[in-house]
């Protein structure tokens, strides 16, 4: 282990320290002897891939999950953290990735929950209101205290979470992937708040997988891989490349080998497309673009800006409120008989959904039953009444062979495959039916490195076979390395187009960031 910037250098003990923490989830060793130290008054990054155990260790520190072994120290004193109550009492607060808020409650009620200050509420309410006004002034944490949190934008909800922790006297604040749902402006706002907190002597731990944020914000960084701490380094003494290598354990080639695209005729043409969610809110506001045969068009953006809805609508999973969608020149938008998930499969549109476990697979079904999901009506698998089980099985086995799915057992439940192998099952089902248009969402989320390479290569090969691919991903690296053209989406609108090859990744990121912030008008 490289030298850690531990408290040995200074005389004050670290604000937060873990020693030899182990945690098992069944057979999965989620945390292996995790030891890390966070000096007082610093911003400390914890970085790692999906499943590296970084959220697990912080949930243990916060008492949300029990550790199997190990020790937690706050200000040099061991503390027994059995529940969040103990952590809060020791001055540790946490902002979870999924906000822990009661939607119908007002901001004030949310802050008060668990810190009511008495059997009745009236006195505590007044005290909290005064204190929150002070905190808002000191740290720039403005929110309307009397609005139900469910009505607030995510950035404001996150500020409520921070207020909750501060109101309860947290000196150490842990944030789990805080920027995933934020716009660049909101992210900047958050970072300002965090720096202000550091000025006041608070200690911040931020869990993320985004290298840029680590470099921009933190003083020290702990890198985790497969449940272990692989490095503790000073941010100023490291680089993005080094961190990336530490995260994955080898040199990473972010670029995907591919020849320039040879675009053919337009396969998908969308114009003025508008989508509303159940409550009638516009999620996609009149977008237009086209995808040609033989090209990959990527849609970049912060999650929650309408990309998911767009993809689902194009796959026939949600109704369209207005606009035009043409497939090979044929109008679909006003023809419900064609524009639905079932008919679109017949029209050779494949769809790899963003969430394979909740949408793309039925995890309690065996692999073979998943291999025909959406195609279960095909003649190939049906007799007059009963289904042809042999045909289903052989289809599944052939696909597993072609995509190297392991274990190669068509009767195993989908839940029992790893993330990468689950994704291969979905990919095989959608690609092997030879679609003209493939809609792909987050193809490599929660997938190990080996499978990522496989999936990327397979998508490029499909493009080279002359198919049209629409890719949605929140991973900018993935978008940039796979796409032939990039569209940037923000707040339900397309904010412009970027060619991925005309500049370095850094430059594109900056431009994307600006567009996402809505600075540049739509091109």
């Amino acid at each position: 282990m490289p030298d850690a910037p531990t408290a040995a250098a200074t005389l004050t003990p670290p604000a937060l320290e873990t020693r030899g923490v182990n945690k098992w989830f069944g057979a999965n060793h989620a945390n292996r002897d995790v030891s890390l130290a966070v000096p007082k008054g610093t911003i400390h990054g914890v970085i790692g891939e999906n499943g590296a155990g970084k959220s697990t260790i912080m949930s243990i520190v916060y008492g949300y999950l029990p550790a199997d072994s190990g020790e937690i120290l706050v200000d040099g004193r061991p503390v027994a953290v059995k529940s969040p109550r103990d952590a809060l009492a020791a001055g540790v607060g946490m902002v979870h990735q999924h906000f822990m808020l009661v939607d119908p409650f007002t901001v004030l009620e949310n802050v008060l929950l668990g810190a009511e200050g008495g059997v009745t509420l009236a006195a505590g309410m007044e005290r909290a209101r005064a204190e929150l006004v002070r905190l808002a002034r000191d740290y720039g944490l403005e929110v309307d205290l009397d609005r139900p949190v469910g009505e607030l934008p995510v950035g404001a909800q996150q500020r409520v979470e921070i207020l909750k922790a501060l109101y309860r006297g947290a000196d150490i604040l842990i944030l789990d992937e805080p920027t995933g749902v934020l716009t660049p402006q909101e992210t900047d706002h958050l970072f300002r708040i965090l720096r202000a907190l550091r000025e006041q002597g608070k200690t911040i731990v931020i869990i993320t997988h985004k290298l840029r944020e680590i470099m921009e914000l933190t003083d020290n960084v702990t890198v985790m891989r497969r449940g272990e701490v692989v490095a503790n380094v000073r941010t100023a003494e490291t680089s993005k490349e080094q961190l990336a290598e530490l995260m994955v354990g080898r040199k990473v080639l972010l670029r995907v080998e591919k020849a320039p695209a040879q675009p053919g005729p337009v396969v998908l043409e969308v114009s003025g497309l508008t989508l509303r969610d159940r409550s009638g809110v516009e999620r996609v506001k009149g977008v237009g673009f086209s995808v040609r045969a033989g090209e990959i068009v990527g849609i970049a953006g912060v999650s929650g800006n309408g990309q998911s809805e767009l993809l689902e609508a194009l796959a026939g999973m949600r109704p369209v409120a207005g606009g035009s969608v043409r497939l090979r020149g044929e109008e679909l938008a006003d023809r419900p008989g064609l524009f639905n998930a079932k008919a679109l499969r017949g029209l050779r549109v494949g769809h790899v959904p963003e969430d394979r476990q909740k949408v793309g697979l039925i995890t309690s079904f065996e692999a073979r039953e998943n291999a025909i999901l959406g195609h279960h009506d095909d003649q190939a698998y049906n007799g007059r009444v009963l289904m042809d089980r042999a045909a289903v099985l052989s289809r599944c086995e052939a696909e597993m062979e072609a995509y190297d799915v392991r274990p190669r057992d068509a009767r195993l439940r989908a839940a029992n495959f790893s993330g990468g192998n689950q994704q291969k099952i979905v990919l095989a089902r959608e690609i092997e039916r030879n679609p003209d248009l493939l809609l792909v969402g987050q193809p490599t989320r929660g997938v190990d490195i080996g499978a990522i390479e496989f999936i990327h290569k397979r998508l490029v090969r499909l493009r080279d076979e002359g198919k049209a691919i629409l890719l949605v991903s929140v991973e900018l690296d993935e978008i940039v390395s796979l796409s032939d053209r990039i569209l940037v989406m923000f707040d339900g609108r397309l904010m412009g187009e970027v060619a991925p090859n005309d500049a370095a990744l850094e430059q594109i990121e900056r431009r994307l960031g600006l567009m996402m912030a809505g600075v540049e008008a739509a091109a």
Binding site: F105, L113, L121
Partner: protein
């Protein structure tokens, strides 16, 4: 005129008597469901409360001991429900059903074995029943028009549990909106994870809620067998637990509307008794069964969104399992 007025007063009085166990049971379920624990088992708990209250009142001659026994039995069943649904993440509907069936069998079985009267308890003498509260000044106020008869017919000689129920309604409103416990209760039914991460035990909170449910259903049962009635007879709840559940939904899980729903359902019952065989203008004689099913039809219409929209607490019916 006086006769009509008196008839109306008697109708109101009957409505209150019928409504009391409904209100108790519906408010019992309100605590559980606002905390996220669905309770189909009101019927069974009420029946257990009714049986044990009557059995103990009959054996000891003391209705207050009976009331305590009824509450204890009902709380015990609540704890079973909690053990299955909170501790073991069992299915709340199945657990409630099991309790209903269990008690529907157990109460008459024990009555049969202990009292040898064909699944009933002996008829309770009035000394073994919960008393009515006699108010002062009835003679003085009686001659005053309007106020006098209202005071005499409705307020005077109401059972002590009716007054308790009034207290429960007011207290529930206060607890839910003004107290720490109420805040946490409402929170845990909407977002147990928020409660957990705020350092509050979801398990403990939900157990507290189901215990209150048990206490109130126990009182409701005791009302049936030792206040309203004079002894336990088999199946004496006759669907009141389900009716209370319907009232809670009809009241959209909020105290005052739930109270109103209970009174409405009780009113249809009181009217139905008086309408049996009486021809009405235009429609003629309405079969009593159609009036009886009115609360159920109304609840279905509400759930279908034809008369407003009922949105349950978000986490109700779902066991709390921590995310990794």
């Amino acid at each position: 005129m006086d006769e009509v007025f008196l008839a109306i007063l008697l109708l109101v009085d009957a409505t209150i008597r019928v409504a009391t166990p409904l209100v108790l049971a519906a408010f019992a379920a309100l605590y559980g469901e606002r905390a996220g624990v669905v309770d189909i088992g009101l019927e069974g708990k009420m029946l257990a409360g009714a049986f044990f209250a009557a059995a103990v009142a009959s054996s000891t001659g003391n209705p207050w001991l009976g009331l305590l026994a009824g509450i204890a039995a009902s709380v015990a069943l609540s704890l079973v429900h909690g053990f299955a649904c909170i501790t073991h993440n069992g299915n709340q509907v199945v657990s409630g059903m099991a309790i209903n069936i269990l008690v529907a069998g157990l109460a008459p079985t024990l009555a049969y074995a202990w009292f040898h009267q064909g699944g009933q308890t002996p008829l309770l003498p009035s000394s073994a029943r919960l008393p009515q509260v006699h108010l002062p000044g009835v003679e003085v106020l009686s001659p005053i028009p309007v106020i006098g008869p209202i005071y005499r017919e409705i307020f005077d000689d109401a059972n002590v549990l009716i007054w308790l129920t009034v207290l429960v309604v007011i207290a529930t409103h206060w607890v839910l909106t003004r107290t720490r416990f109420g805040l946490r209760l409402r929170a845990v039914g909407e977002s147990p994870a928020a409660v957990d991460t705020a350092g509050i035990s979801v398990t403990k909170l939900r157990y507290q809620a189901v215990i209150i449910t048990g206490v109130l259903t126990g009182v409701a049962g005791a009302y049936l067998s030792t206040a309203h009635g004079a002894g336990f007879v088999r199946d004496m709840t006759a669907g009141k637990g389900y009716l209370a559940l319907a009232a809670l939904i009809f009241g959209k899980w909020r105290p005052w509307p739930t109270l109103f729903a209970c009174l409405l359902f009780a009113f249809t019952d009181a009217v139905q008794v008086r309408l049996q065989g009486v021809p009405l203008p235009v429609v003629g004689v309405i079969p009593v069964q159609f009036i009886q099913m009115l609360p159920y039809v109304l609840t279905v219409l509400l759930l279908a969104g034809f008369v407003g929209k009922a949105v349950a607490p978000k986490a109700s019916g779902i066991p709390y399992v921590k995310e990794r």
